[in-house]
């Protein structure tokens, strides 16, 4: 298989003792539109509410709309071959760059540009939100107490990454 070329290959690495920001490679992303009862026998149980993510058979399943889902799996995944008869699929693997931000100040960094409540009690691990980072569409997924994965459009990846590293400057130690 050909290696995917990172959209952030030329980005300046970010280092800090309290915060890590970097790219998380190696995933596939499939957008699926259809009825949960038809899709779930193949994917596993789907979240009942928009904003919830569950893990099933090594994949992360997100409900992004009333009848729309994101399936995030390993870099090579055969699930898209099993769904076309029952749902509308849109492969998005190459359209998104996944940026990870982790550390104690992560919530404060994100709150500078994303119009959501990032308090621990409001944005919990296992939930996500499709929103905008300075009006750039992103999906923000909370995967740990202070760890977030941000799915940004590939062509905006450098901009989002630079925005994050700039926003993190005041917290750098």
């Amino acid at each position: 298989m050909l290696d995917r070329r990172s959209a952030l290959a030329s980005a300046k690495p970010y280092t800090s003792s309290v915060l890590q920001i970097g790219e998380a490679h190696g995933f596939s992303l499939l957008q699926v539109a259809g009825l949960a009862k038809a899709i779930s026998p193949i994917t596993g149980k789907l979240p009942v509410k928009v904003g919830l993510a569950v893990t099933s058979e090594g994949r992360t399943l997100m409900r992004t709309g009333p009848n729309q889902f994101w399936i995030i799996g390993p870099e090579v995944d055969d699930i898209e071959t099993k769904l076309p008869e029952i749902a509308i699929i849109t492969p998005l693997s190459h359209s998104r760059t996944r940026i990870v931000i982790e550390g104690e100040p992560a919530r404060n960094v994100l709150a500078k540009g994303v119009p959501l409540d990032f308090h621990h009690s409001a944005f919990k691990s296992g939930t996500f939100a499709m929103t905008g980072l300075h009006h750039t569409p992103v999906l923000v997924h909370c995967v740990g107490e202070n760890r977030f994965e941000i799915y940004a459009l590939r062509t905006f990846a450098v901009s989002v990454y630079e925005w994050l590293t700039d926003a993190a400057l005041e917290f750098a130690r």
């Binding site: 928009v50 709309g65 009333p66 729309q68 119009p115 009006h135 569409p137």
Partner: protein, 80 residues
């Protein structure tokens, strides 16, 4: 100003796109009466108070929905 998306919950107005007056009825498909189309496209009430509107959660779930917004206070009412 926050808008309650029926799928995502309360979100900042910046995530949404205004989609027009939801109180108007589009002329039936095939209507040849130009005045009906003119009035539909160009004539609007400008109420002070509750107003039925279309909105799209364009940065979120991308779904369209209706809501009632008070044009004087931006208070959001029930979804019509």
């Amino acid at each position: 100003m926050r808008i309650p998306c029926p799928h995502c919950g309360q979100r900042d107005v910046g995530e949404f796109r205004y989609g027009g007056d939801a109180s108007k009825a589009r002329p039936a498909h095939g209507t040849g009466d130009m005045k009906a189309w003119h009035d539909y496209y160009f004539l609007f009430d400008n109420p002070k108070g509750p107003h039925d509107e279309y909105w799209q959660h364009v940065l979120g779930c991308r779904q369209w929905f209706k809501l009632t917004r008070n044009t004087a206070t931006n208070e959001i009412g029930e979804q019509p």
